[in-house]
């Protein structure tokens, strides 16, 4: 079996008539941690959203291949069931559904069988404890009235519970204080193993400090223009994107 988890080939994506991704290529193997950095408006979040087929974006060209299967025509829920997960930049607030019931429903759908309640609760409580989430959040309405940090931790909690093969973290660290960022990286480390991969979209390198990063990609103007190891992230932090902006076209 191929070691490839995700292949993106020559991807073009529009949002509201505007061309955002312009021939993007990316390959992620099982067990790897990839980081995408880039200036505002380069298309980082677009990439995350299009991998899960957010209907707000239109893929006009190219292929997205997941575990060897072209998933261009699959809807969001079908892609999620195949094992793709995204931690949202701004998680939605949904009144009337508790965190635990929501995760339970999603787990049921994903595994195709009802969860074993006792084990589920135990696992949920353990993960919440690791993420420094108060127990009572399990019964609170999904993200309703949560602080920014609590919402992001709740995303990581869902990732840990749903166990996707590809976890995309769309600026999960943005707006978080140092302690919360540490908790998020702890969550990523708890999740990550050689049977899954992580794609981290970020502006800063703080979240990377405790992670073993395999590749760093620089995304500018809809394309990945440079790929390197973790030292590339440090260089960006020091010098910014100025040097790369000129490489355009």
């Amino acid at each position: 079996m191929s070691n490839k988890l995700l292949e993106i080939k020559d991807l073009y994506v529009q949002a509201e008539e505007k061309q955002i991704l312009k021939g993007l290529n990316l390959e992620i193997n099982f067990g790897e941690v990839h980081v995408i950095m880039g200036p505002n408006g380069a298309g980082k979040s677009t990439l995350a959203n299009v991998i899960l087929n957010n209907p707000a974006y239109t893929q006009t060209k190219g292929d997205i291949i997941f575990k060897g299967e072209n998933i261009n025509n699959l809807k969001t829920d079908q892609r999620a069931k195949k094992g793709i997960f995204m931690s949202f930049q701004t998680p939605e607030e949904i009144p009337g559904i508790s965190v635990q019931n929501f995760i339970k429903s999603a787990t049921n759908v994903k595994t195709g069988k009802p969860v074993k309640i006792f084990e589920f609760k135990k696992e949920l409580e353990k993960n919440m404890e690791e993420l420094n989430m108060k127990k009572e959040y399990a019964t609170r309405d999904l993200n309703v009235g949560f602080s920014g940090g609590e919402k992001k931790k709740n995303e990581i909690l869902q990732m840990l519970m749903l166990k996707p093969e590809l976890a995309i973290l769309d600026e999960t660290d943005s707006g978080l204080d140092v302690d919360a960022i540490k908790t998020v990286s702890k969550g990523i480390n708890m999740f990550h193993n050689d049977k899954n991969s992580v794609l981290i979209i970020t502006h800063s390198t703080k979240i990377l400090e405790n992670l073993k990063v395999d590749y760093v990609h620089i995304l500018v103007d809809g394309r990945i223009i440079k790929t390197g190891d973790s030292s590339l992230a440090k260089e960006i932090e020091k010098n910014g994107y100025e040097a790369y902006k000129e490489v355009k076209n």
């Binding site: 209907p55 829920d77 997960f85 949904i94 009337g96 559904i97 929501f102 749903l162």
Partner: protein, 466 residues
Amino acid sequence: MAKTKVEDVNTHIYDIKNDDNYSYKIQKGLDKKIVEEISNMKNEPTWMKNYRLKGLEMYNKLEMPTWGPDLSVLDMSDIATYVKPKSNINTKWEDVPEDIRNTFDALGIPEAEKKSLAGVGAQYDSEIVYHSLQEDLAKKGVIYTGFETAVEQYEDLVKQYFTKCVPISDHKFVALHYAVWSGGSFVYVPKGVKVEIPLQSYFRLNSPESGQFEHTLIIVDEGADLHFIEGCSAPKYNKVNLHAGCVELFVKQGARLRYSTIENWSKNMLNLNTKKSIVEKDGTMEWVSGSFGSRISMLYPMTILKGKNAKMEYTGISFAGAGQNLDTGLKVVHSAPHTSSVVNSKSISKSGGIATFRSNIVITENATNSKSNVSCESLMLDSESVSDTIPVSNIQTNDVEFSHEAKIGKISDETIFYLMSRGISEEEAKAMIVRGFASPISKELPIEYAAEMNSLINLELEGSIG
């Protein structure tokens, strides 16, 4: 051929349709002869017949409502106001004719009675076919009977209260109700008696081109406590059916009454129901209401907070789908000091449905130190649907706390995307959002009805994805 489509219990209640197998169906239309015939068939006292004739007179005098949904689809000459089923009042389900019993079985009534009810009344078309009350409650003096039985056996009590809460001249359809009323329940809870588990009356209208006009009168005497549940449904026909029931509630000093309604009429029904409650000192009236069915509903339960420290709480939800115009709301009159009202309403509209919520809060000069808090939220599932809130208030004293909050929202694509990104289908994502929106209300419903409401939401949303 006595029973037709009831074998399949999974069939939705709109599809259970028995043959129109009555023992007597009065000719369509409305005139003095018809009203007198109903009265004669019921062998009732003259005072009751006189009320009926007064009702007819007022009906002919009063104008159609000039506001709200268009009622021009209603043609009284096409409605049979009285349909007597082939059954008497029974106290055992085994004695109820099979086709009728099967209907109530499919609706889960006998099952609920075993598990969670202290008494049950079941009306089929114009007459009660089953009535029961737990023995220990009867021993404590609780009365729960069909309304005709009450007129016969508790004539003085009925006479004392009948029309005293909802007057005959209230509006055109109340007048109609008084002219042709049939069936309904009578409840009396004596002083200090707490009825721990609910009583439930269920109304089923099977006969096409007919009307149901049940009268419900409840007296909860001083310090007593009651939860009364009312359920209604009908199979779907092509022509209009009419429901113009009337509910009169008396909550005495220090008493509490919770009145829960789940209205699930078929979508050819005009539901023009009238409900009103008078609450004495320290009394509490709680309305819980779920409106899902009917083509047109006009339903605005009214509460008069008559005594000092009287309280009212209203929790309601309506769900208007394609072709439905649900015009609901409430009216509260605070007419004594330290009275309070809390209103929490939610409405959902989809596929062109119209959901309107009207609130009318009156705080009279006497009602010093009173409080009223109205909150209405609507959720529109698509851009062709309509939701509206129409708040009216008339506050005649300065010494009050009054607040009104209205929120109107739509399901956003981002929210659906969020749920779908966890593997949940679009259909289920929408249903989850709607169930979540409705959940503060479903928590207030009797549990079987909360489950029924959720399955209704799922049913309504099935196949709604374009």
